[in-house]
């Protein structure tokens, strides 16, 4: 990299800039466990739930089946979760771009497998790992074609986010049961 300015300071600045241009530090998993994050998510979710309820009430209320309503709730929860990720992860961006993209059949660029002597590169990823990694990639939105290291990073963030989502939704459900006057169910399920 040519540095036109012979000044030592700018060289250091270039070094700093280059470090910034490198891939950002991976999203910290700790944030999904903080109370603040969960509260922010909960309030966003409650607003989204009110919108869902309003839309299902004004629309064909009788036609709205339980399944479609719970589906709307699920999608609202996922979208709020993806928004909480602030665009740092692939799975969150994929959710926000709309799930229909995932279902569309994208033309796959057929990459022929390298024929020839078994290279050391191939042996590092035995087929068993490859298939499992592919299954994993299908489970996480937007991560189908990701190479293994990026996939594993996305997966750990996705799992932490999902667990927070579950914690938040459980709290909201409990609160709603209390407010609604209905007897709150005895069990409280939570992964942790």
């Amino acid at each position: 990299m040519t540095i036109s300015n012979g000044d030592g300071d700018s060289a250091a600045k270039d070094g700093r800039r280059e470090r910034k241009r490198k891939r950002r530090a991976e999203p910290s998993l700790v944030k999904w466990k903080t109370e603040g994050e969960q509260k922010t998510y909960s309030s966003k979710l409650i607003e989204a739930l009110r919108r869902v309820r309003r839309s299902s009430a004004t629309g064909a209320a009788s036609a709205a089946t339980d399944h479609s309503r719970s589906r709307a709730v699920r999608e609202a929860a996922d979208r709020a979760l993806a928004a909480a990720a602030r665009g740092r992860t692939r799975w969150s961006r994929a959710i926000l771009c709309g799930r229909t993209l995932k279902r569309r059949v994208l033309p796959r660029a057929g990459r022929p497998k390298p024929v020839g002597p078994a290279r050391a590169a191939e042996r590092s990823k035995p087929p068993a790992l490859k298939t499992k990694a592919r299954v994993l990639g299908r489970l996480v939105p937007g991560c189908r074609k990701l190479p293994l290291p990026s996939l594993l990073e996305e997966v750990s963030d996705y799992i932490a986010a999902l667990e927070m989502q579950i914690r938040a939704m459980s709290v909201i459900a409990e609160a709603l049961s209390a407010v609604g006057g209905a007897p709150s169910p005895a069990q409280t399920e939570g992964p942790m």
Binding site: I46, R69, V73, P149, V155, A175
Partner: protein, 92 residues
């Protein structure tokens, strides 16, 4: 990391070392619920991936169940703005 370049490339992409993969896999293993057993080396990478898949499916199922429960509660409860504020205060 010069070994990365000196090895044969597949389709132009840089090869990922075994070490990197093992590191990521062990990091993944630490977030799984069954991470309590010692001697993590004994668990193979395939097993960790398998566990991860099951864990994610389990989480998805929980979210679905919670969504169902929430949608039922939304239906029965009258979520006017006063109550929404009350719920929010419960959470804060």
């Amino acid at each position: 990391m010069s070994s990365r370049r000196s090895r044969l490339r597949q389709s132009g992409s840089t090869r990922i070392t075994d070490e990197q993969i093992n590191e990521l896999i062990s990091k993944l293993q630490s977030v799984l619920p069954e991470a309590r057993r010692g001697g993590n080396d004994r668990v193979s990478a395939a097993k960790v991936l398998q566990e991860t898949c099951s864990h994610i499916r389990r989480l998805h199922r929980e979210v679905d169940d919670l969504s169902e429960r929430l949608s039922e509660l939304l239906d029965s409860a009258d979520l006017n703005s006063a109550q929404a504020a009350f719920i929010r205060s419960l959470l804060m």
